[in-house]
Amino acid sequence: MRGIISSAAYVPYRRLARTSISAFLGAGGGKGSRSVASHDEDTTTMGVEAARIALRSAPAAAPGAVWFATATPAYLDKTNATAVHAALRLPSDVAALDFGGAIRSGMGALMTAMTGAGTVLVVISDQRDGLPGGADESFGGDGAAAMIIGDDGPGAPVVAEFLGAASATDEFLDRWRAPGERRSRSWEERFGETRYVPLGREAWSRALKNAGVESGDVSKVVVTGMHGRATKAFASKLGLAPEVLADDLAGTIGQTGAAHPGLVLSSVLEQSESGDVVAVVHLADGADVVVLRVTEARAAWTPARPVEAQIASGADLSYGRFLSWRQMLTPEPPRRPEPARVSASAAGRSEDWKFAFVGSRDRSSGAVHLPPARVSMEGGAVDDMEPLSMADTQGTVVTFTVDRMVYSQSPPVVFAVVDFDGGGRFPVELTDVDADGLAIGDRVEMTFRRLFSADGIHDYFWKARPVRDPAAATGPEVAPG
């Protein structure tokens, strides 16, 4: 049996209320909200966060490959999956590959893993931009999903068995973006609709046949795609009971492009029961359909951070700040030098520290060193340290400050001295927090972020953020809010 061993999604903390767009521009917007990646997030960092959650829910799973798919890669030429690989501290014999460019690549990576061999960690991530007032801006979203796909095995059972898949492909112009552009363009909607609906029906029929199930056997269907009109039309023509159609989450977090089929599937699997048959239909330059059956192992699988909880814990962002984070508007920066580019060789030497937040612990004194050191600050032992991964250790704010002068993509900088549970202190920048929203004693967790970019080089490292999801708390106390 082959299928999904674990799945997770990452929804960034911030939400843009669509009404705030029309309030500012006098037009555009709509109802509900969209998710917004923080100024220090990109598709790679969001992918890392999703993968961390998926792995936490299936600690025994050992991926033999990492596939990363996005339509908005942080780098071209350079593989982005290697940063995911490094952040997860995977062994060097695990291949890290990108599926790049097209929105369809996310669903494509999932399908390829399901029909392939070995244990594959598929990470799909996207960040959707649009010009101010446009539909892409308000109905797009940012987020990531991660799925561990492989054969059923001891300790890492398949929770959703792959039953079958099908694709229908046609070359037509619906949505496109020239390399280097931030905005997408699309053809008149009605044209795409006339292509997507029949392609979807074709793929749907063949997928059910390949899976050996009837339409009536399907308990939940996810229909998703950037073409809102086509997905609605296709879904209505399936003739399914309304409760069978899954909420595509577009109202609350927006359409997250390449990530969306995985993100919504994660949400559905988190709410599924053993025996459920789940189908995912993605309309993007054709149609792709996957059919899965939730297994008995579902009962023992506990999602570490459900999508629903992440959606519920979001906080609003003003439209002005959204525009500046998306570089649609450039606020005056502090009159301070911008950071210099990261040294490739220095970053290479400190890969475990920089990408995976691994410190060291002195074997004789137990003192924790962040970053790792060769000589102990207690007792002075030399080269008697063991690596100590701190990425999943929570901590408490000892003291903090707000720096209004330092250079930042989104001033002011909130900075705290954090004492970690079980030992270790690190003074670290906070993120997903308001300057007036922090107190001494607050609980924080680590998150992988992009600090800044210079000379086209992204500086990836870790920040701390408040622990908001009580289910995620590992320490003695939980900060409210």
Partner: protein, 396 residues
């Protein structure tokens, strides 16, 4: 293993100090020439009489050539030193030790910094290429964490703490208003201080040292030769230096209410100078008031007040110009700004003026005490270098 010091073996026999400020019309070379010329004249010597030179500059230039070129020194041993914000003091320490060792008869320390050519606010460090995981926080933000930690530990409420910090700021501006070389020469009311824009944490603009260009210099000789050059030399009683391991940043035991490096340097300096009760033996102290909470904590680290009591002493006026132990009678970093390489020597210059009775009358301290202390720190809470010196007008 011991720190022996060089008490009474070396004397300062000439000093100079430029006005500090936003000196748009002066380059580094001008600052160096101005301070050095004044210093040569003060000691009554020429550049050829000086056997060896040390230039303290943090970022304005590299190598001894930065000093040798503007002064046209030919063939002399000239070195450039850097040690964060203690850079100027380090130049003097090197020169004094060189004379004490017997290697040279006369040495000169010049501290100079041209800060205002960067076009940025505040001080900026040029970091070597790195992995991008280091802090980029401003010094103001790092030091801002001291005030709430101190207030919490010693039960000082927020309003009292604001009042304490404003008292320090107002005191230093009061002193600076009486010093023609200071960058800021106006008294500042507490109301103005309270109303100033926040820079980091609870610190406002008036809690932070200014940013200025400037230079200062000193010439040192063996103590027994001192009276050949001046009838009022300053004898070096102690030069102490302490460097932390940086572990305070990652040590859960560090509480941001004191600077161990400064305590260590002070303890060493008092031992070298034979001081047992600094508050009653020192005529005054020049300390590194980069931010107002720094000066508060230093009053305890340097032994001027018991732990947890400096805030009360500040409010009681103990460290005011007419107080029991005046601190920063020249106006401090608060009034002078902080040209990094020059600040340490600027503090010595105030000792030079005050102990010789040459300060401007409105800030001249009248006392029968003959010793003064200077203190620098560089770095951040938890990761610091610190310098403490004691100088005096009497031998023995």
């Amino acid at each position: 293993m011991s720190s022996h010091g060089i008490r009474d073996r070396v004397a300062i026999v000439g000093m100079g100090c430029t006005p500090f400020g936003e000196l748009w019309d002066k380059g580094l070379d001008d600052l160096i020439v101005d301070a050095s010329t004044e210093t040569f004249a003060s000691a009554g010597v020429t550049k050829d009489d000086v056997d060896a030179y040390w230039l303290g500059t943090a970022q304005s230039g590299m190598s001894g050539i930065t000093l040798a070129r503007p002064l046209q020194l030919e063939g002399k041993p000239v070195s450039r030193v850097e040690n964060y914000c203690t850079t100027g003091s380090e130049a003097l320490r090197a020169a004094a030790y060189a004379v004490a060792s017997g290697a040279y008869d006369m040495a000169m320390a010049v501290g100079a910094e041209k800060v205002k050519d960067s076009g940025y606010q505040g001080l900026n460090a040029n970091n070597p290429p790195n992995d991008g995981t280091g802090r980029t926080l401003t010094a103001a933000a790092m030091f801002s964490m001291v005030a709430p930690a101190y207030a919490q530990k010693y039960g000082v409420d927020a309003d009292q703490m604001s009042d304490v910090l404003a008292t320090i700021s107002a005191k230093n501006h009061y002193n600076g208003a009486r010093n023609p070389r200071a960058q800021f020469r106006r008294e500042v009311s507490k109301e103005t201080i309270f109303a100033s824009p926040r820079v980091a944490g609870g610190l406002g603009v008036f809690d932070c040292a200014g940013v200025a260009d400037g230079a200062a210099a000193a010439i040192v000789v063996r103590a027994e030769d001192a009276l050949r050059y001046t009838d009022k030399p300053l004898y070096i009683k102690a030069l102490a230096f302490s460097t932390g391991s940086g572990s305070g940043l990652i040590d859960p035991g560090y509480d941001y209410t004191h600077f161990p490096e400064c305590e260590w340097a002070a303890t060493d300096a008092y031992a070298q100078a034979g001081i047992t009760d600094p508050r009653r033996q020192l005529a005054f102290a020049e300390v590194h008031d980069c931010f107002t909470p720094t000066e508060l904590v230093l009053m305890e680290d340097l032994g001027f007040a018991e732990r947890g009591t400096a805030w009360k002493e500040v409010l009681a006026g103990t460290f005011a110009l007419d107080g029991e132990l005046p601190v920063n009678p020249d106006g401090g970093l608060k009034s002078f700004g902080h040209p990094v390489g020059a600040s340490g020597l600027r503090m010595f210059f105030e000792c030079w003026l005050q102990l010789r009775g040459e300060a401007t009358p409105e800030r001249q301290i009248t006392t029968d005490r003959t010793l003064a202390l200077t203190h620098n720190l560089g770095g951040y809470p938890g990761e610091m270098v610190s310098f403490v010196s004691v100088v005096g007008t009497e031998l023995g």
